[in-house]
């Protein structure tokens, strides 16, 4: 059955949305002052970025949407607004404030082979270890397999990123490639791990969860 009413961009607490370049850039720029964040989400040399540079990145991402890369802002919805008083059916639902907490990005989308790579980041240290990653990953996988119709989804993480490794393995990803000593961070060499999840594996896990 086609569950057309199931909202692809809504989880229990989080939403996938477009980026609003003017508002979001300042928030993401703050995250880039934290080297831990940068070293968890990227293998590029860690460096603080200006809001202007990030705004430009959002605008470029918007242009190449649906091509090789697709980016989402990850937002935490505020407390639910109180239900309108009994009999006050005319009251419009109160706007729900949302806060930018991270991003979800599909990279290297290879349409003819049905594969892509997932990158997911939670920006502020205070927002990590609260289960947001698990929820965001769930939304990302449903989107990858049910909307982009991918056959497989890959992910790349540094071997020191144990949190991400656990998160991905819990979602069914398998470590497929261990690129020995491919990274240099904090004065030593680390392996670079490539993981993968096939559409059929995700479908099977979902069927099991719903049974």
């Amino acid at each position: 059955m086609f569950r057309l009413s199931e909202q692809l961009f809504q989880g229990a607490r989080l939403s996938l949305t477009a980026h609003e370049p003017d508002q979001d850039a300042a928030v993401e720029a703050r995250w880039t002052n934290d080297p831990e964040y940068l070293r968890l989400v990227s293998n590029e040399p860690a460096r603080p970025l200006s809001a202007a540079a990030i705004k430009k990145k959002y605008e470029e991402q918007e242009k190449e949407k649906n091509h090789r890369r697709l980016s989402f802002a990850l937002r935490l919805r505020g407390e639910a607004a109180p239900a309108p008083a009994e009999g006050d059916a005319q009251a419009a639902p109160a706007a729900c404030p949302e806060r930018l907490i991270g991003f979800v990005r599909f990279e290297n989308i290879d349409w003819s082979n049905g594969s892509a790579r997932l990158v997911l980041g939670i920006g502020a240290a205070d927002d990590r270890r609260r289960g947001y990653g698990t929820e965001a990953l769930g939304l990302a996988l449903r989107y990858a397999f049910e909307e982009l119709n991918l056959h497989r989804l890959g992910a790349e993480i540094a071997a020191y990123n144990q949190g991400a490794l656990r998160l991905l393995e819990q979602a069914g990803f398998q470590v497929e490639v261990r690129r020995r000593e491919a990274l240099y961070r904090d004065g030593r060499r680390w392996d670079d791990l490539w993981l993968g999840l096939l559409s059929e594996e995700w479908q099977a896990r979902r069927a099991e969860a719903q049974a």
């Binding site: 040399p45 049905g114 056959h151 398998q174 261990r178 690129r179 000593e181 990274l183 993968g196 096939l198």
Partner: protein, 186 residues
């Protein structure tokens, strides 16, 4: 300082010549077997004019990519291309090799192995990389064997990431460390 950096036993590495090389290169791009061994893109022929433009653009020296063409030492004929690409960026000192031998007559004759030896020496002795990586399709056993012979170690397979001829295939990913290459030189 007199190491013949660009020369092997059968081949030499050179800069591509847009005038002379575009036509034979475009000829290889009509060979679908060659294209399907090269990358995951749908195989599409390419004109000599487009190839000439590409060679001109790539001819601009950059510190993140080192593209060469492969020429036969015997008669200087163009045989293929090879390049080293630094990635994700210089801080990790990792290079990726891309290689294509377009001239089918050279397949299985040791030209690939000789090219790999020259490129690895360049990677480790000129660029001082810590490791060199490459990817190869599981349906290309000839290349897999050549890479193993050159010292590459299989580090894993990304499952079913390539769809060709109605089914999915794995990609194999290999790497060689500077220390491993050094140990093989004695």
């Amino acid at each position: 300082m007199n190491t013949p950096l660009f020369t092997g036993a059968l081949v030499r590495l050179a800069a591509a010549d847009p005038e002379k090389d575009a036509a034979p290169w475009a000829g290889w791009m009509r060979d679908s077997e060659f294209l399907r061994l090269l990358d995951t893109d749908p195989a599409v022929p390419e004109s000599a004019a487009q190839r000439k433009k590409d060679i001109e653009e790539r001819g601009e020296p950059k510190n993140t990519g080192f593209p060469f063409v492969i020429r036969a030492l015997a008669d200087d004929r163009l045989l293929g291309f090879v390049g080293l690409w630094i990635g994700p960026s210089w801080n990790h000192r990792n290079g990726w090799i891309g290689i294509g031998l377009g001239e089918r007559a050279t397949w299985g004759q040791g030209y690939g192995t000789d090219t790999l030896n020259v490129v690895l020496r360049y990677a480790f002795q000129e660029l001082d990389l810590h490791r060199v990586s490459l990817g190869v399709f599981e349906y290309n056993p000839r290349a897999l064997r050549a890479y193993e012979k050159a010292g590459f170690v299989l580090e894993g397979r990304t499952r079913q990431d390539t769809r060709r001829a109605g089914r999915y295939w794995d990609s194999c990913w290999m790497g060689i460390l500077h220390s491993e290459w050094e140990a093989r030189q004695s």
